[in-house]
């Protein structure tokens, strides 16, 4: 069972990385840094709702580190890490309140927290509160992007839950 979990997580990380790299190739939606769909977020929320907290955090950390290595944009790693840390902490807490049917709401908060972390890191690193003016724009775009990725993750989860149940019941029968 442990190997199976490890493989699943590795597969999820790989898929998240692929979608992350593909998204980088798409033209920028806006001139403001940080405004993007964040498709890899689908995997983060998915993992939070189907794996343990530690496992989901590990998946996100691996994706951020490897993602910045593969995209050769290493200077952005601090922003990604700050955003990711805040995002995962927020989602993990909200998961206790928000049931799986409202997963999209969790994702919206996750996206907003991610942008908050990024802007926070940017303000600290540039020592310039002027960067803060991008924040409202990022929150608006984060809400929309989070809604989209959240709904994606929710549909994936709803399709997968019956499959999982079948798998476990058939296994129990075998045993």
């Amino acid at each position: 069972m442990k190997t199976r979990r490890l493989t699943e997580l590795a597969l999820l990380t790989a898929a998240a990385l692929i979608i992350f790299i593909v998204e980088l190739r798409l033209p920028d939606l806006s001139s403001i840094p940080g405004v993007k769909l964040g498709l890899a977020n689908i995997f983060t929320v998915y993992a939070v709702y189907s794996y343990r907290a530690r496992e989901a955090a590990m998946l996100l950390l691996t994706r951020i580190v490897l993602g910045s290595v593969f995209s050769s944009n290493f200077s952005a790693i601090i922003y990604s890490l700050a955003g990711g840390a805040l995002c995962i902490a927020g989602i993990l807490l909200l998961k206790r309140v928000i049931p799986i049917n409202f997963l999209w709401l969790c994702s919206v908060f996750g996206a907003m927290l991610h942008n908050t972390g990024q802007i926070g890191a940017a303000v600290v690193l540039t020592r310039s509160p002027a960067v803060f003016v991008h924040y409202p724009m990022l929150v608006v775009s984060g809400c929309i992007a989070g809604l989209f990725t959240g709904l994606c993750a929710q549909y994936v989860l709803k399709r997968l839950i019956p499959v999982r149940k079948n798998e476990t019941t058939s296994k129990e029968k075998e045993e």
Binding site: L94, V97, L105, R127, H134, V140
Partner: protein, 124 residues
Amino acid sequence: MTKGVKICLAAAVTIFAAAAVAVVILHRPAESTWVEITQDGKVLYTLDLATFDDETTQTIRIDSPDGGYNIVEIGEGNTIRISEADCPDKTCVKTGTLRYESVPIVCLPHKLVIKRVDEPKDGG
């Protein structure tokens, strides 16, 4: 829908609305012609765009302490933008010209910020 979800939903809607209002307020066109170029929190230049020639283009090269550079271009119609940079993301170049009063041009890798400022009262 449980109580927790309702509270979260209300919070999300409120934040979204507040942010949308803030976006509209922040994106006002600038009135002042003064700009300030800062790097790592230190002011490098304070310029009055109105004193520049309308037709010609001038560039300022700004070297970053950690090796990189940005080229600031003051162009036609007294616009200011970053025309070239050696950072990996090129966000500052993509931002284009400085239009709004409260939205600066930022180059995060080189910690460079160009923003509109009020006219200095003592004549600069």
